[in-house]
Every structure is written in structure tokens, then in C-alpha cells.
């Protein structure tokens, strides 16, 4: 079992590495809806991935609330923090995306990048808590 887990985590790390590399080297077919604008594609990727990840975390906490509250109250606090703030961050990123799409200005590009970094931090936080909480309640991938 330990070997299997190690292999899967290694594969995951490899996948993450490839994804990182992909962020630098992948290109868009210019005939697509993004018309070659990789930042727009990346924005949509971060927005949708962060929603899926944060949603999985708050759903996990909601389904296992009593156990999480008793055994890992910090995870409950983290879930409530994301419940309060993530919808605002999500909308901010969508708004910043719209401004960037309309203007393509340097300022709007910077604002979108900042908004996406906030969402990336939310992904890290949700993933971290689900990993920590996996010992007390199963974070089923089907919740996403």
C-alpha cells in the first residue's frame, strides 16, 4: 500500500511538473475561443480549478462537520473562512478577467494576475486541509 501511494504521489508530482512546464510552453490554437491569448485561457483554468477544489473542501467539511469540528476544528475554521471569502475572490477574478478581455491593458493584466494568485492560494489552502483531514474523513474525489 505504501508503495502504491508513493507511486501515485510521484505520478501526481510529475503531472504537476508537466503542468508547470505546460504553462510556459503550451500554445493555443489561434482559431479557438481565446484567439491565442494564453492569459485568458490560464485565467479560466485557475478560476474553474479553484472553484472545484474549494468546493470539494467545503463539501467535505460540510458532510463530515461533527467529526471535523471535534477532531480538527482548525479545518472547520478554514472552511468557514473560504465560505466567507472565496465567492468574493471568485467574482473579483471574473471581473478582472472581463476588464482584461476588454482592454488588454497592462494595468488590467496586472490586476488579473493578482486576482489569479489569490485563487491559487485558495487552491493550496483547500488541498492542504483536505490532505491533513484525510485521516479523519474520506475526501472523496466524487465530491468535486
Amino acid at each position: 500500500m505504501r508503495k502504491l501511494t508513493s507511486s501515485l504521489l510521484l505520478a501526481c508530482a510529475l503531472g504537476a511538473g508537466l503542468f508547470t512546464a505546460g504553462c510556459k510552453t503550451a500554445t493555443l490554437d489561434p482559431a479557438g475561443v481565446y484567439q491565442g491569448d494564453y492569459l485568458l485561457y490560464q485565467a479560466d483554468n485557475v478560476i474553474t480549478t479553484s472553484y472545484a477544489t474549494v468546493h470539494a473542501f467545503v463539501t467535505w467539511e460540510w458532510k463530515n462537520h461533527d467529526m471535523v469540528k471535534a477532531k480538527m476544528p482548525e479545518a472547520m475554521d478554514a472552511a468557514n473562512y473560504l465560505r466567507r471569502n472565496y465567492p468574493l475572490w471568485h467574482q473579483s477574478a471574473i471581473d478582472a478577467r472581463a476588464v482584461y478581455q476588454d482592454t488588454k491593458s497592462s494595468a488590467s493584466k496586472d490586476a488579473l494576475t493578482i486576482a489569479l494568485n489569490v485563487l491559487k492560494n485558495a487552491i493550496d489552502s483547500a488541498n492542504s486541509w483536505m490532505a491533513k483531514g484525510s485521516g479523519i474523513a474520506n475526501p472523496s474525489p466524487s465530491m468535486q
Partner: protein
């Protein structure tokens, strides 16, 4: 690491790989993200733009 934790972590790893699979495929396809993949991404975003995204009970604070 106990077996249950190991299995849960494995499930998480598989879930993350499923998210990454289209991007990895794009790399092996020559690094270009196809028209279809772009449309799928945009559709995913559009599906989140409605008011339903945060309406579920899992989004309500609990103490």
C-alpha cells in the same frame, strides 16, 4: 502511514491527475491546446457564472 490515509491520499492524487490529464495531453500533442479543448474550458467557466455556484448548503458557514 496507516492504510486508510494512504488510500485517501491515493484518491486525491488520482483526482489531481484527472484535472491535469487534458493539459498533459496537450503537451504530448505538440504543446498546442486545440479549439475543442479551449471551448471545453470556456464552457466550464460559463457554467460557473450563474448565481447557482454558491447557493448550496455546503457554502453556508457552520459552527
Amino acid at each position: 502511514m496507516d492504510p486508510i490515509t494512504a488510500m485517501n491520499l491515493a484518491g486525491l492524487a488520482i483526482s489531481m491527475l484527472e484535472e491535469l490529464a487534458p493539459k498533459i495531453k496537450a503537451l504530448f500533442d505538440g504543446g498546442q491546446i486545440s479549439v475543442e479543448q479551449q471551448k471545453a474550458m470556456k464552457d466550464r467557466l460559463d457554467a460557473l457564472s450563474g448565481s447557482e455556484a454558491f447557493s448550496g448548503p455546503e457554502w453556508q458557514e457552520r459552527n
